[in-house]
């Protein structure tokens, strides 16, 4: 473990930015049609339960990284395998977000720039900041949080002022019934983006005031849920369900629709800043978790030694993960939730929690 501490406020900011990350830009829960915003909220509430699970797990071992306590719960051999798998998952996720992000930039602004260059530049930045450690990631997060919020508030005001919002697009409410919302939440929004907060069980041991983790983390989840839900509602209200469904980046289309005073138009740069800031923090946290996990598992004292080699791995992984954008998206929709999100975000933590609880009870009984 790195010798560093972050405070609860920084944890809040990191979780918030992480959740907003790439989710802000995608059409979240659009399967629920005009009730997408409700699906996002439902997913958020479900994720509170998931996070409670990670938090309980942390409470059993407040000073240890998961990669260490897994070995304590399910034995050194299985524990090491599980820890190794988690490191792989974090690296895979980092590569996935990096690819998402690179593809978006290529599609919307840099048609002629090779994807590799775009990914490599961002990864260089991620490597740099990971090399500096969690404290610097957290502090940078605090400043980027303000930047993102200023953009969000300005953007919202501009959307309101330009009279784009048509609330009729959001009606009829609950057309498909509660079932459709719950189904969308259960199959999609619960895992992406909210379930991805599993990566924070690698970060929790760094927080200096354990009693403040719960309020900070849960309020960050709730706030990000509300913000994402508002974003989806605004997207649907501006574009309509049809367009939102077909659009690759509904937020971009919404922003492009802004026209104020015949001067403030085509504010694509807003979208770009949100995209890069969000993607950057998300990749950094995944990558940091992978690096710190690897240093813990393989007993490498200096994390800076791992940063460059693992960074290269993530970069190449992001290139070979899929042969094209369509394949990448299809993998993301059909394989990732089943083989990565469900086992590693839900099942494995649940098993670990049960194991830890049994172990604790066992040792208490023994002492008695």
């Amino acid at each position: 473990m790195e010798k560093a501490k972050i405070n609860a406020g920084q944890l809040f900011v990191l979780i918030f930015l992480f959740e907003m990350g790439s989710a802000l830009l995608l059409s979240l829960g659009i399967e629920a049609k005009q009730d997408a915003w409700m699906a996002v909220m439902a997913g958020m509430f479900g994720s509170l339960l998931l996070f409670w699970m990670y938090y309980r797990l942390y409470l059993f071992y407040p000073d240890m990284l998961p990669t260490s306590y897994m070995q304590d719960i399910i034995g050194p051999f299985l524990g090491k395998i599980a820890a190794y798998l988690y490191i792989l998952v974090f690296m895979y996720n980092a590569a996935r977000v990096l690819r998402d992000f690179g593809e978006m930039l290529v599609i919307f602004a840099y048609n002629e720039t090779p994807l590799f260059i775009i990914n490599a530049l961002l990864l260089l930045l991620v490597v740099y900041i990971t090399h500096k450690g969690i404290e610097v990631i957290a502090r940078t997060g605090e400043i980027l949080f303000v930047v993102l919020y200023v953009l969000a508030v300005t953007g919202s005001i501009l959307i309101l002022v330009s009279g784009l919002i048509n609330l009729d697009h959001l009606k009829p409410v609950l057309e498909g019934g509660i079932g459709r919302i719950l189904k969308t939440a259960g199959t999609e929004t619960l895992y992406v983006p909210f379930g991805e907060a599993v990566v924070f069980f690698m970060i929790l041991p760094y927080v200096n005031r354990p009693d403040k983790i719960k309020p900070a983390a849960l309020s960050a989840l709730v706030l990000s849920g509300i913000n994402l839900s508002i974003t989806m509602a605004v997207n649907v209200a501006v574009l309509g369900v049809d367009l939102t469904e077909r659009s690759q980046f509904p937020l971009l289309n919404t922003i492009q629709a802004i026209q104020v005073a015949e001067f403030l138009e085509r504010l694509d740069v807003f979208f770009m800043i949100a995209l890069i800031v969000g993607g950057f923090i998300k990749i950094s946290i995944y990558f940091y978790a992978a690096v710190i996990g690897a240093s813990d598992l393989f007993r490498v004292k200096e994390i800076s030694r791992l940063v460059f080699p693992l960074g290269l791995v993530v970069l190449f992984l992001s290139m070979v993960i899929a042969s094209g954008y369509a394949e990448h998206i299809r993998e993301g929709l059909h394989f990732v939730p089943l083989y990565i999100h469900l086992p590693f975000h839900v099942i494995l933590p649940a098993l670990l929690l049960t194991g830890a609880a049994l172990k604790k009870r066992h040792s208490v009984n023994k002492r008695n």
């Binding site: 602004a109 930045l125 502090r139 605090e142 694509d268 740069v269 770009m272 950057f280």
Partner: protein, 539 residues
């Protein structure tokens, strides 16, 4: 080659004692003649060394005074040293030969600081700072008297830090004057001044000043440790020290703040910082420094808080403009034409049509021209200064556009950048921005807005990773310290600023009393009075 080896060893052996000699002290002799001879030998007969022999004590004691002309106060030597010595009568009770120096120092010399000197090293330290040495024949002891003086620049208005409201005096090159100016502002016995001499050749006086009980002791200790570690040949300005004790010398951003204003230095010491004074430099360093401090001017504290806050935010915004304006122009015209509103785009491209260079080259030409002009303006003698401004106005202005080398829009951008870069109160921060701007222009021309956003994040991450003497550079913004926020990008009124910055003063955070907020003058008491007298028709 045994012979060579032996020679090698021999030479080493010979060298070793000589280097030890330097630290050993050679005592003075008893004979006046020998002492003066030795003194002349050691100073190599320099022409500014004055040696005046005399007899005193009623023509019976041979003596001599020596000093270096120019750094001594001649009046005090004449009136308080020479005159009493020359007029000294034969003492009523006989004095032993070796006690003469004590007798003279106690009964004759009318100067404040007198020390007796026993060896040559101390003697030269004293002479070189402007003290006068009195040799007396027959005593292996000389007297060093405080006659430091000489021509110094008077206290003037600080030329680099202008304030509208606030004191007009600035630091000078004399370290004593400088410490006195701060002491006059902080009348507190806890204000500590510690001296050390740094520099093998220059032996410059370096003093650290802090408020005991308010400054963080760890920082004081750290400053002292870093200063002691320095084994410099020479120190001519506080810049030398800044470069050698800062945390991150490789960063373009300064992690030590300097000032020329005593009020600013006093304010920083009162917040718990440590100040470093260097003899011969009108610039005082104080540390630890935080990023936001470089955008604060002393005027902020003297003007009303709304105005101060908005000016601070303006400065930060303008700092970003001075960094990003040319780069944004280059990125927008090269990569992202679609983001420019159509009408503006048409105007811009019509202007650019005649220009034979790509936007980056155009920007580089103009920015370089401006930097050259600025540098020339600083270095040029004042008498020809006007030439620069005329030539500059012609080059940057109309002529360059008419010649078709640059577009008018580019001229506007460069002008805005130039003006913007002058609003940063701290020169060292403004100069960092100048450097980074060129780097950003290249990034903008290669990667467009994507590169600019990445560079912004990179810069933020870099700033967040800096520390100045243990204090995070971006505090109180990141890490966000709500208690310190009252004096950061905004300045809340004094009654809200009950505590000193937490990260800087280690202890004793409370600086003032409660209830400082003024009420409307006497409203409460007047109301009460009227109520008592039954007169309620105040409106």
């Amino acid at each position: 080659m045994p012979y060579r080896l032996r020679r090698l060893f021999k030479s080493k052996k010979q060298q070793a004692p000589s280097s030890a000699d330097q630290k050993e002290k050679t005592p003075l002799g008893t004979s006046l003649k020998d002492n003066l001879k030795e003194f002349k030998k050691r100073t190599g007969n320099s022409s500014d060394v004055v040696i005046r022999t005399l007899t005193t004590g009623g023509m019976q004691w041979e003596a001599a005074i020596v000093y270096i002309d120019g750094i001594v106060d001649n009046t005090s030597i004449d009136e308080f040293l020479l005159e009493p010595l020359l007029q000294l009568e034969v003492p009523t009770t006989p004095v032993l030969q070796q006690d003469i120096p004590d007798y003279i120092s106690e009964q004759v010399i009318a100067l404040g600081g007198i020390e007796s000197v026993l060896d040559w090293e101390t003697l030269f330290e004293a002479v070189t700072i402007g003290r006068t040495i009195l040799f007396i024949d027959g005593a292996a002891k000389a007297l060093s008297t405080s006659t430091i003086g000489g021509e110094r620049r008077a206290v003037e208005e600080p030329p680099t830090e202008i304030s509208i409201r606030g004191p007009r005096e600035g630091f000078t090159e004399s370290i004593r004057t400088n410490t006195a100016m701060v002491r006059r502002r902080i009348k507190n016995p806890n204000l500590r001044v510690k001296t050390m001499k740094i520099g093998r050749q220059t032996k410059t006086n370096v003093e650290i000043m802090y408020l005991e009980g308010i400054a963080d002791e760890k920082v004081v200790e750290e400053v002292r440790r870093r200063l002691k570690q320095m084994d410099m040949g020479s120190i001519l300005d506080s810049g030398y020290i800044e470069e050698l004790i800062e945390d991150q010398p490789s960063s373009p951003f300064p992690t030590i703040h300097f000032t020329e204003r005593p009020d600013s230095a006093a304010g920083n010491i009162l917040e718990g910082r440590v100040a470093v004074f260097v003899d011969g430099s009108p610039f005082i360093l104080h540390m630890p420094a935080v990023f936001i401090q470089f955008f604060q001017s002393v005027d902020d504290y003297y003007s009303r808080s709304y105005i101060a806050s908005s000016l601070r935010m303006l400065r930060i915004m303008v700092f970003l403009i001075s960094l990003y304006a040319p780069a944004t122009y280059v990125a927008a015209t090269t990569f992202h034409q679609e983001m420019i509103p159509t009408q503006l785009l048409i105007v811009l491209s019509a202007q650019r049509e005649a220009v034979p260079f790509p936007a980056l080259i155009e920007a580089f030409i103009m920015e370089m021209t401006f930097e050259v002009l600025r540098e020339a303006g600083i270095r040029m003698p004042k008498a020809v200064g006007q030439t620069v401004s005329i030539v500059g106005a012609l080059v940057i202005g109309q002529a360059a556009v008419q010649a078709g080398i640059v577009s008018p829009a580019m001229v506007i951008i460069v002008a805005i950048t130039a003006i913007a870069s002058f609003t940063t109160p701290s020169y060292s921060m403004a100069i960092a921005a100048r450097l980074i701007r060129f780097f950003l222009m290249v990034i903008a021309a290669t990667f467009g807005f994507y590169g600019l956003i990445l560079s912004f994040i990179m810069m933020t991450a870099h700033l967040c990773s800096l520390r100045s003497f243990g204090v995070p550079y971006m505090a109180p913004l990141a890490p966000f310290v709500p208690a310190d926020f009252h004096d950061s990008i905004i300045r809340l009124p004094w009654w809200k600023a009950k505590e000193r910055p937490r990260l800087i003063s280690g202890q004793n955070n409370v600086r003032q009393g409660d209830d400082l907020k003024p009420e409307a003058p006497g409203t409460q008491s007047i109301r009460k009075q009227r109520k008592n007298t039954g007169d309620l028709n105040e409106d």
